[in-house]
């Protein structure tokens, strides 16, 4: 196994709820904290979540899935990811295509997270993907 820091890019293209795909991307990315107990001292894992195309619609805030279906929301998972300081990126071109305003994107200030979701261009996303060691598409 590669030593040092292993960068994982979780790339989310699917819509939320109808399937579990996008939720799995977030929970898998969050699981890096559990996996670290199995690593050697000189190994670390740095996941990042990247939402592109229709996947950006996961990042709209105020999900009411718990109220209507008693289902933990994708938003809650995203907030937990921000709380553990995971890097989360949303494609600027995609949110513009769907007419989603930046202020409608999830943040986790209410639970004390210092990080926020970064809205970045497609070119910046390509650079992030280039730097990753492994790509995981959801």
């Amino acid at each position: 196994m590669k030593t040092g820091d292993v960068k994982l890019a979780f790339i989310v293209t699917k819509l939320p709820y109808k399937s579990e795909t996008s939720r799995l991307a977030i929970t898998h990315a969050l699981s890096y904290q559990t996996v670290e107990v199995l690593l050697e001292d000189n190994q670390t894992i740095t996941p990042s979540l990247i939402f592109v195309d229709e996947g950006v619609l996961n990042c709209i805030k105020n999900h009411k899935s718990m109220e209507h279906y008693e289902l933990t929301s994708v938003e809650t998972h995203l907030k937990n990811a921000l709380l553990v300081e995971m890097d989360i990126y949303v494609c600027k071109e995609s949110i513009e295509k769907f007419g989603v305003l930046p202020e409608r994107i999830v943040n986790a200030e209410d639970i004390g997270a210092e990080k926020s979701i970064k809205i970045v261009s497609k070119d910046e996303i390509k650079e992030i993907i280039k730097r990753a060691d492994h790509l995981l598409y959801f």
């Binding site: 819509l15 939320p16 709820y17 109808k18 229709e54 619609l57 709209i60 805030k61 105020n62 999900h63 009411k64 899935s65 109220e67 209507h68 279906y69 289902l71 929301s73 938003e75 295509k97 769907f98 007419g99 409608r104």
Partner: protein, 99 residues
């Protein structure tokens, strides 16, 4: 024939509609189909909303996804599960799902 068409996907094939000889079509947007009611991809209404018929969106599914009711396209009527039951029982004779 009055047909209610359930739409639960954002990307779906509209071709089957050509074969439905309905005098009245009602599109009921549920699941990920609710995005048709609120998104204007590239500033255009969804192709679903360009069909002839009545349009309904399930509020519970819309709010689950964080979409706001004031963003609902004026062509689309928001409905609850209770309203949906009434539509199925009293307004439409047949139901179909568009995948």
């Amino acid at each position: 024939m009055k047909v209610a068409v359930f739409v639960s996907e954002y990307r779906c094939n509209l071709n089957p509609l050509e074969y439905i000889p309905a005098e009245k079509l009602g599109f009921i947007l549920v699941g990920n189909g609710v995005y048709h009611a609120v998104l204007k991809e590239n500033y255009q209404d969804s192709p679903i909303l360009q069909q002839k018929g009545d349009f309904y969106v399930l509020l519970e599914d819309l709010e689950t996804r964080g979409c706001e009711t004031d963003c609902i396209n004026p062509k689309v009527k928001p409905v609850t599960y209770d309203d949906l039951v009434d539509l199925i029982f009293y307004e439409y004779e047949k139901l179909m799902w568009l995948q």
